[in-house]
């Protein structure tokens, strides 16, 4: 498929950024310096500094002499990449495939995107004017290949849009520096009198390779489109994504809700058409001050219902800070699953719609109280009471073993068990009375003991002798005593639960 790429060159990236922060710097010569072998060398400057004669790799002291009043800033390592990443995020409004091209550029895959702005010319104009409004001076270039777009953006005077298939003609008049080559190769080309790409473009591949190395040939052929070159996107594109770019930024709740509802509707229609349901969604909103924020939701079962997804997102609308206005909404569905029309697997016997209702209810509640607070228990093959159940997050999971009916367990379980003072007449008998929270209970009936031991293969520990005890009032308790069969051990008593 024919591809189209845009390269954006931020000629004065650092100084523009500084001028955005301090407006007074716009009319002054500004330069950034970098330490190199114990000296401070100029590594970026603005137009005013250029007019004064400041050049790259000039010592900072010299720059001060040439351009009186020059503002020098020290550059921090990694600063350009950080700035470019921010700008790349901003450029996601044009295309989902954006790549950072250090030290001073961005590469965009705009295949199939340009018509959205009314053509390639308008597309580039939009980029230039918007970035200019932000305060950046840029040069764009558009071509079929990344290399050619890069070359045109940096070195061409006219013809920033290379027509499809016109790479060779466009590169002819450009200097060899437009091919993204190393300094040594550029010096060599210069020494040999190759001042334009056109003067060596027709030379055989083997000759170029022998003299200038395989990298130079690769770069040349990449620019011509005869070798493949891949764009590494800043973010992996999500297959299911919808976006709404608004002409007028919105900031009222009604308008935001309206936009989000439309967005979800579009996404759900698409998912429905492909038989898929949404399991998680990320809503990104970009404000006009360039900041973007995200809201994330998850569902318990694949959902295609606009109202449901909207309700889940709406629970988080209170956190949305529109600032001066929101101009772009993006809704991604990073996780989708095939959605069958019949959801009868959940619990047997109920009609399909009801299981879906339950899952949606749990989504709603989980969005507010947290999904970790919703429990469903499945039996475990353990006798130790604290281990007899396991939490299951999956609603469709059915128990692997049966719940046991024959053993008596209290309806209310104290976790952890609480110590009591108990008195038993004979060592292995149930207590006659016990004191719990300063209240004395006289036991009249008791069942037991039921001895439950720790599972030695999971952890060490003694056993517990459980008794079901009924006191004079008819209250029924679950008591246990700790081991007492070793010399020196005294039995301690605990209350572990209440029987109905």
């Amino acid at each position: 498929m024919l591809k189209r790429f845009v390269s954006i060159w931020f000629k004065y990236l650092l100084t523009d950024r500084e001028a955005i922060r301090q407006d007074s710097l716009r009319e002054l010569p500004v330069a950034f310096t970098e330490p190199d072998h114990g000296r401070m060398l100029v590594m970026a400057m603005n137009t005013h500094a250029e007019h004064c004669g400041v050049k790259l790799s000039m010592a900072a002291a010299d720059a001060r002499v040439i351009a009186p009043g020059i503002q020098l800033f020290e550059n921090k390592p990694g600063r350009q990449v950080k700035l470019l990443k921010g700008l790349a995020e901003w450029c996601l409004r044009y295309t989902p495939l954006v790549m950072v091209d250090p030290p001073d550029g961005l590469l965009l895959d705009v295949t199939g995107c340009t018509h959205l702005k009314g053509g390639e010319m308008e597309f580039l104009k939009d980029i230039v004017s918007r970035l200019r409004a932000l305060g950046y001076t840029i040069r764009p270039g558009m071509a079929d290949t990344l290399g050619c777009a890069w070359a045109v953006a940096r070195c061409a005077d006219t013809g920033l849009i290379v027509p499809p298939g016109g790479q060779r003609n466009a590169l002819m008049l450009l200097p060899p520096g437009s091919l993204r080559l190393g300094t040594e190769i550029l010096i060599k080309l210069n020494q040999l009198g190759f001042y334009q790409v056109g003067s060596f473009i027709h030379l055989p591949k083997s000759v170029l390779k022998r003299r200038f190395g395989s990298n130079m040939v690769l770069r040349l052929y990449q620019a011509l489109g005869q070798e493949a070159e891949f764009l590494l996107p800043l973010r992996e594109p999500v297959p299911y994504t919808e976006r709404i770019a608004l002409l007028e930024p919105v900031k009222t709740r009604d308008a935001i809700e309206n936009a989000v509802h439309t967005l979800i509707d579009q996404l759900c229609k698409r998912l429905y058409g492909e038989g898929l349901g949404l399991r998680s969604a990320v809503l990104t909103y970009c404000r006009i001050d360039g900041k973007s924020y995200q809201l994330t939701i998850g569902t318990n079962h694949p959902s295609q219902r606009t109202d449901h997804i909207f309700k889940l997102l709406a629970l988080q609308f209170d956190q949305v800070a529109p600032g001066l206005g929101i101009e772009l909404f993006i809704l991604d569905a990073p996780k989708t699953e095939p959605a069958s029309d019949k959801q009868s697997l959940l619990w047997n016997g109920k009609p399909a719609a009801d299981s879906e209702q339950v899952a949606e209810l749990l989504d709603n509640i989980g969005a507010r109280v947290g999904n970790t607070n919703i429990h469903r228990y499945l039996p475990q093959e353990h006798h130790w009471p604290e281990r007899a159940v396991a939490n299951s997050a999956d609603l469709a999971q059915s128990p692997e073993s049966e719940w046991s009916e024959d053993i008596l367990r209290p309806v209310q379980l104290l976790d952890p068990p609480e110590p009591i003072e108990a008195m038993a007449l004979t060592p292995d008998y149930a207590p006659r009375q016990f004191v719990y929270r300063n209240q004395r209970h006289i036991i009249v009936n008791a069942d037991g003991p039921e001895r439950i031991s720790h599972e030695w293969w999971t952890e060490d520990g003694g056993y517990r002798d459980y008794y079901v005890a009924e006191d004079e009032e008819g209250m029924r308790y679950w008591l246990f005593g700790t081991p007492n069969d070793l010399p020196g051990q005294t039995r301690r008593w605990f209350i572990h639960g209440y029987f109905p």
């Binding site: 619990w347 047997n348 016997g349 109920k350 719609a353 009801d354 299981s355 879906e356 209702q357 339950v358 949606e360 209810l361 749990l362 709603n364 509640i365 507010r368 109280v369 947290g370 607070n373 919703i374 429990h375 469903r376 228990y377 499945l378 039996p379 009471p385 007899a388 159940v389 299951s392 059915s398 128990p399 719940w403 046991s404 009916e405 008596l408 367990r409 209290p410 309806v411 209310q412 379980l413 104290l414 976790d415 009249v444 009936n445 008791a446 069942d447 079901v468 005890a469 009924e470 004079e472 009032e473 008819g474 209250m475 029924r476 308790y477 639960g497 209440y498 029987f499 109905p500």
Partner: protein
């Protein structure tokens, strides 16, 4: 003339009940809860489903008994499938114990909220969902307005709601159909047998809309409620003479 007047009054009573939200169930939908005499206390001699029941419990022992009683009712509600939701703030219920009352614990979804005020919110959301068989809500306070909200949610969805209230200092009026207390009482085995018998409760109906209050003693035996009939002393003496 007299009989005709009585007919009109009966008809008016029926209408009033319908306006208050009581709908006599069609004969096929009637569920048997096995509550025996207690069911006679309600209008139409039916344990009302699709309404709000309120249980008062002052002690953890009572809460355990109430839990057992509710589970016994839920057994019938869950017969047609579905799930129930148990909303609580500090939960102590031990799921495996419910199997004894005929409820499979994996069909209960426990929502343990972190903040107390979320209990009623989650309950209302659950009550609005008609795909749920029953909702149990453990809370401390329930004002009239809050109970009214829950009742309104129920009127749309016809879900049965159980409110388990633990704060008795504020026994305020609520919009619930019935107010119960369930207390454990001494179990009885055959005389001379040691040990603890079947769970036995004293069930009090403190308030019923259009019904009679009363007090009964029940036992949970062989997976169903069994009314306890106190055998008179003379009879006992005869049998074990």
């Amino acid at each position: 003339m007299e009989a005709k007047k009585q007919d009109i009054i009966d008809q008016l009573r029926q209408d009033l009940m319908a306006w208050e939200g009581f709908r006599p169930l069609p004969p096929g939908e009637r569920q048997e809860f096995g509550l025996g005499a207690i069911e006679n206390a309600f209008p139409n001699q039916t344990f009302p489903t699709g309404v709000l029941h309120e249980f008062i419990s002052t002690r953890p022992e009572f809460t355990a008994a109430t839990g057992g009683f509710i589970a016994g009712i839920m057994q019938t509600l869950l017969q047609n499938g579905g799930v129930c939701v148990w909303v609580s703030y500090t939960r102590r219920i031990y799921p495996p114990a419910l199997k004894r009352f005929g409820v499979s614990p994996d069909r209960i979804i426990f929502i343990d909220v972190q903040r107390e005020k979320d209990v009623l919110w989650a309950t209302e959301e659950a009550l609005k969902c008609s795909g749920i068989a029953a909702v149990i809500c453990e809370t401390r306070l329930l004002s009239f307005m809050e109970s009214r909200r829950l009742q309104l949610a129920i009127e749309q969805s016809r879900v049965t709601g159980f409110i388990l209230r633990k704060d008795v200092k504020h026994m305020s009026t609520t919009a619930c159909t019935a107010r119960w207390t369930v207390k454990p009482v001494r179990s009885k085995l055959r005389p001379g047998m040691p040990g603890v018998g079947y769970p036995r409760w004293q069930v009090d109906l403190l308030k019923v809309k259009n019904g009679q209050t009363g007090s009964w003693t029940l036992e949970w035996k062989n997976q169903q409620f069994t009314p306890v009939v106190e055998q008179s002393q003379t009879e006992k003496a005869k049998r074990y003479a």
